[in-house]
């Protein structure tokens, strides 16, 4: 975890999540687009609700940003984040400020893929689930586990970039049960 200060023993001075109950997620996918395009799309955080499930809005103010999401139970969750590391067209890393509803740190890295396959996008996420690891385990059982969510969001990001939309069946006809 070179990109984000993970709160582990090796970064005791800048913990992003308290204690040892942060949950780490790493997911990668390859997207047929240039690093420049993907970086620019992602760096405009206002775009992120287009593909991140549950994220309602992000407003940027310089290096800081305010995030509003809806929890699976429909509850509004808000936090403020700061960009803590950034390399043009390669890396964006952020961390929530103290006092946030959901404490987390994350990074996204863009690397050229071999040949004309586009760009390898890797998202790393460390996340302080309310209720800690036990809550995350329960969430995995109920299908609301963060690693699965990051994977879904990344799949949506890829679809939006490659096809201009993401596949859905929400609103299609179905027989009565």
């Amino acid at each position: 975890m070179d990109e984000i200060n993970s709160g582990s023993e090796t970064h005791p001075d800048s913990p992003s999540v308290q204690g040892n109950h942060g949950i780490k997620v790493t997911k990668s996918c390859t997207i047929k687009s240039s690093r420049e395009t993907l970086y620019a799309f992602w760096r405009k955080f206002e775009n992120l609700p287009l593909f991140m499930n549950g994220l309602v809005s992000v407003t940027q103010n310089g290096n800081s940003s305010h995030w509003i999401a809806k929890s699976p139970g429909g509850k509004k969750v808000e936090w403020d984040a700061v960009v803590i590391n950034e390399t043009l067209n390669e890396l964006i890393a952020w961390r929530t400020v103290e006092g946030s509803d959901v404490s987390h740190a994350g990074s996204v890295r863009f690397k050229p893929a071999p040949g004309n396959r586009g760009t390898e996008v890797t998202v790393k996420f460390e996340y302080d689930a309310p209720g800690g690891k036990l809550a995350a385990k329960l969430a995995k059982i109920t299908g609301k586990e963060p690693s699965q969510q990051v994977e879904k969001d990344l799949t949506h990001f890829k679809a939006v970039i490659e096809t201009g939309e993401f596949p859905t069946t929400q609103g299609q006809p179905k027989g009565e049960k």
């Binding site: 047929k32 890829k158 490659e162 201009g164 609103g171 006809p173 179905k174 027989g175």
Partner: protein
């Protein structure tokens, strides 16, 4: 509209459901003029494919008239007569660009579920469970077609619906199965299963220049239909491997096609294991095809497998240096050239239809087809 809904194992019903709507800019809505029941629909009917939900609309072989298009669909317009491939492809991902259309990265909204099963998700399919996206199928009056600027093939000739309909799946599927055999002029191809895909595989093998095709089945009308195409026919109740040896001078067939898949009959072992849920598929034919194939030959598998199989003679496949080719059909490779073959009169795909019924009677037709009653080989449905 009316649509055929799955409600549980051996329980499908035509119900009234809301009409489909455009949900994405690249969608189109098609008014169905002809649809069909596929052999692979029977795997759903028999409850062997997980993640179907009560109320899901089935059907992945259909054609019709475009009645509405999304804002980003420029090459298809209202009024076009189209036949729609059963696999949904975005046209822009790595796989679509390589014409591996059935492996599309972007068309399955439930990609993560499919990835749990397969490692990586493959394309979305119409009416084929929530592993493949849960898209409503086309055994209905209307259907929504995603990425409608990629899949549907426009037909302008005066061919009848029953001559075009099977470009949606079984003709390309049989053709790809034969093409995967890399048939050389003096080759003998053995084909297990004389259902609709097997029938098209037989005819495609001849189109691709096979010298001899040996078909294997035990349903009299299916065996007769294979004979009409020029195939030699062996009953699956006989000693198939010995007869294949005899008919090939002891060499074995140059390639073998398993057009049966996960619900093969003939092995009590597999019947029991599948009932006990220790095995999801019954690979009886696959084992026989691997054992029968000549050294260095190809086993091509268009028959659908959905999960886990066991006691597959991998040692024989390895020892004989076999090539195994399989997978859902890369539809768009074949639809255009096969439409041309139909237009040129090289083949009339309507030969395979034994039953023509109204959509209202679809539930009964599933039962008839499933039990192979009344000489049923292929059912065409019209709304």
């Amino acid at each position: 509209m009316k649509a055929l809904c799955w409600n549980g194992k051996m329980d499908v019903r035509v119900e009234t459901v809301p009409d489909p709507k455009i949900l994405n800019p690249r969608d189109a809505i098609i008014r169905i003029t002809a649809t069909a029941i596929c052999g692979s629909d029977l795997h759903l009917y028999h409850g062997l494919i997980p993640t179907l939900e009560p109320g899901d609309i089935l059907g992945h072989e259909f054609m019709g008239e475009v009645v509405e298009v999304g804002s980003e669909v420029k090459n298809t317009k209202v009024g076009d007569r189209v036949v729609v491939p059963f696999t949904i492809s975005c046209g822009q991902c790595f796989y679509c660009e390589k014409t591996l259309w059935s492996l599309c990265d972007n068309s399955n909204p439930d990609a993560y579920k499919n990835a749990v099963l397969n490692g990586y998700s493959t394309a979305g399919l119409f009416g084929y469970s929530h592993l493949y996206g849960g898209y409503a199928g086309g055994q209905a009056e209307y259907v929504r077609v995603p990425f409608a600027d990629v899949g549907p093939l426009k037909v302008t000739s005066s061919l009848r619906d029953d001559q075009i309909l099977f470009l949606s799946d079984i003709f390309p599927t049989g053709y790809q199965a034969a093409e995967n055999c890399n048939i050389q002029p003096d080759d003998t191809v053995a084909i297990w299963g004389c259902g609709p895909v097997g029938q098209f595989a037989i005819r495609s093998a001849f189109l691709l220049g096979a010298a001899k095709v040996i078909a294997i089945d035990n349903v009299p009308e299916r065996m007769e239909m294979a004979r009409q195409a020029g195939a030699m026919v062996i009953s699956s109740d006989e000693n198939v491997r010995e007869l294949l040896k005899e008919f090939t001078g002891g060499r074995g067939p140059d390639s073998c096609i398993d057009a049966v898949g996960m619900e093969a009959h003939g092995s009590i072992y597999d019947d029991i294991k599948q009932k006990l849920k220790l095995e999801t598929d019954r690979p009886y034919v696959l084992r026989q095809a691997i054992m029968a194939c000549r050294k260095g030959g190809t086993v091509s598998i268009p028959g659908v497998y959905g999960g886990i199989i066991d006691k597959v003679p991998m040692g024989a496949a390895f020892g004989k240096g076999l090539t195994l080719k399989m997978g859902q059909t890369h539809m768009k490779r074949y639809m255009d050239p096969l439409l041309q073959a139909v237009e040129e009169g090289k083949i009339d795909p309507s030969f395979v239809i034994t039953h023509r019924v109204k959509l209202d009677a679809a539930a009964q037709a599933y039962s008839t087809f499933s039990k192979k009653e009344d000489g049923c080989i292929k059912v065409m449905l019209t709304p």
